[in-house]
Every structure is written in structure tokens, then in C-alpha cells.
Amino acid sequence: MASLVGSRVERKEDKKLLTGRGRYTADVNFVHQTFAYFVRSPHARAQIKKIDTSKALKSPGVISILTGADIVNDKIGGLIAGWRIKSEDGSDMKVPPHPPLASDTVNYVGDHVAVVIAETLDEARNAAELVKVDYKILKAVVSTKDAMSSDQIYKDIPKNMCFDWLLGDRAKVQEAFDKADKIIKIDLVNNRLIPNAMEPRAANADYNPSTEEITLYTTSQNPHLARIIISAFNGVAPENKLRVIAPDVGGGFGSKIYPYAEEVVCSWAAKKIERPVKWVADRTESFLSDCHGRDHVTHAELAVKNDGTFLGFKNETIANLGAYASVFGTVTPTYLFGPCATGVYKMPAAYSNVKAVYTNTAPVDAYRGAGRPEATYTIETLVEKAARELGMDPAEIRMKNFPTQFPFQQTLVHSVDSGDYVGGLNKAMEVADYKGFEKRKRESASKGKLRGIGLCSYFEACGIAPSPVVMMLGCGIGLWESAEVRFNPTGNVTVFTGSHSHGQGHDTTFAQIAADQLGVPLENIEIAHGDTDKGPFGYGTYGSRSLTVGGTAIVKACDKIIAKGKRVAAKMLEASVDDIEFSNGEFVVAKSNKKKTIGEVAFACYLPGTYGEVKSPLPEGDEPGLKETSFFDPVNFSFPAGSHICEVEVDPDTGETKLAKYTAVDDFGTIINPLVVEGQVHGGLAQGIGQALYENCHYDESGQLVTASYMDYTMPRADNFPEFNLGFTCTPATSNPLGTKGCGEAGAIAAPPAVMNAVMNAIGTEISMPATAEKVWKACNKNKKSNSEAA
């Protein structure tokens, strides 16, 4: 049998998803179901003086209205910050309480105030309008930059600061800067984004009074995590009385990693009223209350020698956490950001200092790339600026500072096991026809257009794991992954994974791995995920970890299956275990060529006997059945890397920027399915280009979300993109047996600096993301004026 790993197998899941047969949380309905509608704060910051539900309770169809007072009465715990960060001075981070329904204050537009539960959705919504909330409106803190000097939001949190974190050595950096020929400085904003998963968040909780069990269907990237949080922290039900199912999920991008107030409230309410409670976000609620992404204000400096050698790097960042510290909200701007900010370079000295602040905006958490796009944008726009100021080619300055020896001890944390940055950039330049740029630039100029080229070389730390390391750094959970490989008696296989697929194509890729390991046809393998009652505990999907960590767990479980299979086959074939070889689904006695297929062995394991005589195929000490579980915790992160080259064409009359050419050459280690990987790169690029040119979350001064619909929040569309030129290089990861590194976030990480460097190259001046037409037009005009003044 030819190996399936590396082949372009079409996605098994696409047929159902593309023909509308996916089964999402909103598709799940229960008998006697009720509907929840949340009363949300219309103000960014206010005190709740009084909530009057009397009129709403009389509205037709209303069953119950619950508020923060009920949360307190029932001792329902608050939402949690899952990663503990310490400040430079050793003090612990400061975290405000985050009750699932507000008790005395509301802190962003969309914050949860009360829930109305009624027989129909319309009845719930109509009654919600009758809930009277008496607010004392307070001055909102909105600006990331000014948060520390604005009104204090929480009593015990001075300067609205959660922590002031440092990674690196300030003194060593100062020494390096003292030796520099030149210091390159940059001030930038990493614009805030709204995730916009295609499927809005939803929850449907069913309580069974006879078993006292809650079954919660929800849009989660991580049902096991939802269960442990709702159980251990919110205290809604013990873990063994709470089943969480995340069926088909239409995209998450980080925003569905952890449970929100709505899931907690629906589960708790279902138990209270002893009826199922369903909630499905409408699009406005998604804009207002899904956790947002990015939102950094950064000042960074690079110390260089005149020949382009990097000596040192400083990164001073203010990161906006929004109104509350969300589950991964505190790690995203620290350990996922700080270490990667030195980029793919030898950097003798560096530090990252991050001040995380609270504002009266929606909570901010991990969003595709989580910290690494912010890091890459910082270093890659800075390096490009250094090249400009030193009069060097941007490729040359990068090449000069790339490490060439691996493993490479990166400045701040990571030991990068493998890579070939020089080879990657060379290949990208070849695919992009870097040499031909000047000619294309002249052609554009002849049409009155400004053409620019921009580079980005990145690395990222993903495949997140290793548990002891992340827990040492403050993570409240482990990050290993589980797999259970279960042969069914008739020879087909179910593989349970603790990761979760919501667009990544696990049904296909994971089946390819199992098929290769076990020698079983692809169509006989089922990948099961997303149900805490099926398969072992796991940690879900984010941080490009599923294949590297979860896929490896599958390999390990398959190894155990084969080891047992050898023992059983040896007994059946009356041979010694040492003489049995396994390949292509067959256990073969090397000398005699006698064999048993893996299906026959599985059958024998489940039906261990023989008609007419007392005889078992199972060796002494082996139990019946053929099912193995593995929990894999790798020894290191994985480190995808690559170089992207973007060309844009700007119309100086209108400021419109057209992507003319985009080349991405990535090193994801071993590629299991190129078709799936290309899809992941395309999606990541779309989001990265979206951030650079279109997307921007905008709150006005009073904290109202101005971009709360698709009329105002610009999603990139297919016609905004050129054909992407993709290329790959491969240095396998050494931290897992598959050699994979992870590909889900790379596009979103590399594209923003590549695009922005191209835009800035075209117009010859610095501008911030997103490079909207008006901004670019203004920048072009400013130049024109100063040009004519100079002349």
C-alpha cells in the first residue's frame, strides 16, 4: 500500500459541510426547549443601581429572568483568567472579578446583565426590552495608549494595569545599544480585530433530572476545557455530571477556545428550570461579545552596526486586555508574543516589556496567531526600516542576521530545533522573481501606479505543549494531547482525539496518519472528536497544535496496537514475537511467510476462542479487545518558519492598494496533506491581508462599537486577493516522530508585515494598519506637497 502521508487526499468532511449537511449547535433541538436572550449593557462603563424585571416577567411566554443576584445566591463562580503572569517587580497580575451576569458594574458595551428565558425566541427578546436597568453612567476608558493615565475602572487595580511584565535583560540590552552605530526606532499600532467566525457562538443545555446530568452542546474549539472550567470554576455541576459536546463548529480562530458567560448561564439555567435552554448569538452579539484580537501599541528599537549586523532589540508594548482578563488573554501578549519579537535573527541582547491594561471594551484573547503576528509585525517592519536607513537590500540585511546552525538558541526563550532560513528566503525570492521587481515597477509607473515590494521572514513557536514548561510559565492547564485508537470487532477503526476540528480537516489528515500506521484503508477509519463522553480528556485545537501534538498521540496509540497485535499474531501463528514483522496491515512471520491481517487479529482479540476446543489466541497476560490510548506531551514547541514576499500597486489618485503578487514559502516540516495545508495557508493569508488592508475594530470615545456590522467592519473578500504563489521547504521537526510543525497560523502571522512593507515601499512613507485607501491617499499627498516644497 502506498503511503498516504504526503498525498493530496480530498477532505472527507467537505461533502457534508458544502452540501449543508453539517450539524451545528444551532441545529440541535430538544423537546420542551426554551430560549435565552441576554440583556446586555448599552453602556461601556456604568454602575447598576437597580434592575426591575417585574414588567418583563409578565410578558407572554416568559419562564424565568435571572440576574447577577441569582448568580451570587447560587454561588456560581466567575469566568477565569487561565494564565498567571507576574510583573517585573515580582507581584502577581491583577484580575477583576468577571461574573457571568454582572452584579454591580458593567464594563463594556455587550456585557451580560440579565438573561430572559421564554418559550420562544421572540418572546424572550420582547421581554428583554422590558427589563428596566437603572444605570449610573461612568466615563469610559477606551484608548489603549492612554489607559494607564485614565480614570481607574476597578477599585483595586491602579493605573488599570494588570501587569508590567519583562522578559530579557535591560542592562545587557543597554550595553549593546551603547556599542551600536545606529539605532532604528519604530512606533506602531497593531490594530484590533474582530474574529468573525462564520458560525456565531451558540449553546444548548439540556438537564436530565433523573441522572442530574447536564448535556451542553456548544460552539467550542475545546469541549474538555469548557467542561473543566464550567465544572471546577463556575461550579455549575461536577465534571462527571456535565457532558460537553462541540459538534460541527464553523470556525473559531481562537475566539471559541474557552467558555463564555452564555454557556455557563445556559447550563446553570437549564438545571434551575429543569428544561433545555438554547441560545444562539445574532451577528451583532458576535461583534460585541466575542473576544477580540491584537490591540497593541508598541515602541521598538533595533541597535545595528553600519554593516547591518544586529546588536540588540527593545520592545515596549502596551497590550489592551479589554474589560476583563480572558482565559488566554494574559499569555497572548506575553509568552506568545515577547519571545518571538526578536524574529528569525541572531540577536545578542533583547528584552520585551509588556504592560497589559484594562479598558471598557470587549475582552481581548487569542486570535489566529495569538501574539506571534504582533511580534512578527514589530520586528519585520523594524528590520525593513533598518534596511532602508542603512541603504541595504531588505533581503540582504535579513540573510546577514539569520542563524545557520540548528538547534538555534533564540535570544529570549526558545531553542529552535530545526530550520533553514537562508534556503527559505532564497526560494521565496526565486518564486517571487525578486530580481524582476524593478522592471515591474517601471511598468506600473507607466500606468501612473506606484509599485512596492515587501518582505517578511518569520518563525513562530506553536504546537503548544510541553506541559511542564507552560505550567512553569503560569499556564493553568497542561497542553499534552490524547488519542484512543479503537479497533471495532469487524476490523474498522475509530480514532478518538482530544483535539477538535472546526475547519482544519482532521477527519482527513488524522485518518491518513492512522491508515498509514495500521495499514487499514482510509474509508474504514473514523475520526471522533468533540464529545467529552467519547474518548479521553484532551486540550482541543488552537496554537497550530493538533497535528503535532494530537497527531503524534495517534501514532503512539497505533504503536501500542501494533505491539499487542504482534503478540497475538505470534500466538496465532505459533511463532516467536521477535520473528513477527508488521507492514501494510499484515503481521508476517519473516521466515515462513505465514501471516495474519490486522483485521483478523482484531477479530481474534474480540472473539478470543475456537469452536470445539478451549483455545485462546491471546497470549497469557494479554486482555481481550484491541484498543489503546496514548497521551503525548512533546519535549519542545515546534517552530514553523518561512519567508513571504508581497507586491502591491497603489493608485496615488485614490489611495487604493491592489495586491499584485503574493508569494509564501513556508517550512512546516513534514506535510501530511498538501491540499489541506495549502487551504490553511490561504485562509491565514486572507486574515493577515485583511488585518493589513481592511479590518479594523473601532470604538468611539464613549466606548460604543462603531464597527458592529458588516456595513462598517471590512471583511476581506475573494476579489481582494491575487492568486497566491505557494512554495515549501522542509526541515522536519525533531520533537515529534511525524516531523510536523503546524501550519494553521503562519499566513496570519507573516502577511501583515509583508503587505505593509510593500505599501510603505510603494509610497515611501510609514503608515499604520489597516492601509485603507484614504490613509494611503493622504500619505501620498503629504509626500507630494513636501516634494513640491523641497523643489
Binding site: D653, Y694, M711, D712, T714, T772, A773
Partner: protein, 261 residues
């Protein structure tokens, strides 16, 4: 969503009779339905006019082209007659929203709504359209009164829009990157003895830029536009475009339109 009474009118007379100050006609529903769903509008009665056959269809006569009110954007975009007589009008329809919107939205609904950034109002102004209602004929210049405001009276129904066929014309639009409505749209039409330059998106209501029109009637070339003063005062300003940028875009897109004529 608040409940309402739904009616399906069989003819214009019935539809008009059912109308009140608290009702809406349902043509494509592409404005009305989202407004109801978002809670921006509530109605007591919704009167479906899509089953009234006489309101739909495209007719060309010598000098004009008459388009029934419930004719969908996609039908105008694909019409051989429109493409031949006024290609810029077919192109305008092709550029509205997205396929879903074009497959439902109607010309009558669009101009009755008079969104400041809608496309069709500029065509009405540039092409000297006459709006035929169940009571009267209204010249386009008198039809568009202000932001979301028209000359239509309660219960008055647009039956058709009659456009004059120009010598040449072109419509250029800078679409809002989010919604794809016009941030600025400029419709230039050269008629015998007259040029119209209708601008949408830039101000609270579509208008004919008389200065540009005059410059172009003297010299129908993009260079004639260069010297015309375009003031940003009174222009819309929002997160997508400042008044200053809109003023620039009126000039740039007027030039593009003339060049494409």
C-alpha cells in the same frame, strides 16, 4: 422581531389602499427585512407588491427606456436592451451589492428608499429620469428630497422609471470596502445640448454637480474637470471617508467616468 400583518396585493390599487403611515411595501425586501430584523424599523403592515405583474419589465422606445419598479437589479444588469441602449445603467446594476442582493433587490425599492449611498438615484438624475407613480409623473430632480426622503406620498407607488437614452454615459463608483455601497459614485451623461454629473454617496442626498456639468458641456474631456473647484463643505464624513477625501474622489471618479464614456 415584532409581529406584523402580511398582505399580498394583486394590483396597484389594492396595494395603495392597504398602505398607511405605519406600513411598508415589500419589493426585494433587501432594505426592509434587515431593518426589521435589526429592530431599526417596525411596521404594522407589510404589503407584498411582487405579485403585481404590471410593475415588472423593461421596455425600450425610441428615446427612452422604461423599467418597471419591481424589476430586479440582476434583470437590469443582464438585459440586452439596457446593455444596448444605456450600457452604463446595466453596469451600474451589476455593481450593486452582491449576487444575493441583486437577485432580490429592485429598482423601485432602491429609489423609494433613497439611501444617500445608493447607486440608482445617480442614474435617475444623470439620465433625466421620470418617475411614474400610480398618481403622477415626477422628474428625478424633484423626486430626491433629502436623506432617505423622496417626493412620494403615503400610499403612493412607483410603477416605473423612465430614463432618457443619452449620447454617451458612464458610471464610476468607489465602493465602501465593507458594504460595497458607494462611498462616492459619479454618473456622467452627455445628452444633446446638456451634460449631467450626478454624484451619490458624497452628500446626504444625490445631486447634480452643476459646476462639473457646465465645464463638461463646454469641453467634454477629463482635462476640463481639473480646474473645477470641488468643495468638501456639506460632504459626508465617517469612519470610511472624510469629507476632504470624498471631494477628491468626486474629481477622480468624474474624470474616470468621462474617460470611460
Amino acid at each position: 422581531m415584532k409581529t406584523f400583518n402580511y398582505h399580498s396585493a394583486k394590483d396597484v390599487k389594492e396595494a395603495s389602499k392597504l398602505a398607511s403611515s405605519n406600513s411598508a411595501f415589500l419589493a426585494g425586501g433587501m432594505t426592509t427585512i434587515p431593518s426589521i430584523k435589526l429592530g431599526l424599523a417596525t411596521y404594522k403592515d407589510i404589503i407584498n407588491i411582487k405579485n403585481i405583474k404590471s410593475l415588472s419589465g423593461i421596455k425600450v422606445s425610441g428615446k427612452t427606456i422604461k423599467i418597471g419598479a419591481t424589476t430586479k437589479h440582476v434583470e437590469v444588469a443582464n438585459s440586452k436592451d439596457v446593455k444596448k441602449a444605456i450600457p452604463s445603467l446595466a453596469a451600474l446594476a451589476e455593481g450593486i451589492g452582491d449576487p444575493q442582493v441583486r437577485n432580490r433587490g429592485t429598482i423601485g425599492g432602491s429609489i423609494a428608499n433613497n439611501d444617500p449611498s445608493a447607486d440608482y438615484p445617480s442614474a435617475c438624475i444623470a439620465l433625466n429620469a421620470v418617475i411614474h407613480t400610480n398618481n403622477r409623473k415626477i422628474e428625478a430632480e424633484k423626486f430626491f428630497k433629502g436623506m432617505f426622503e423622496t417626493a412620494l406620498k403615503n400610499g403612493e407607488i412607483i410603477e416605473a422609471i423612465e430614463f432618457s437614452i443619452p449620447e454617451k454615459s458612464n458610471y464610476q463608483k468607489y465602493p465602501n470596502p465593507a458594504s460595497r455601497y458607494a462611498v462616492v459614485g459619479v454618473y456622467v451623461a452627455k445628452h444633446k445640448g446638456e451634460v449631467n454629473v450626478a454624484v451619490t454617496g458624497a452628500k446626504p442626498c444625490v445631486y447634480n454637480d452643476k459646476d462639473l456639468a457646465k465645464a463638461l458641456s463646454n469641453n467634454f474631456s477629463s482635462s476640463a474637470i481639473e480646474s473645477v473647484k470641488i468643495s468638501s463643505s456639506g460632504m459626508n464624513s465617517d469612519i470610511h471617508a472624510s469629507a476632504e477625501y470624498r471631494a477628491n474622489m468626486v474629481r477622480v471618479f468624474a474624470k474616470k467616468a468621462v474617460e470611460a464614456c
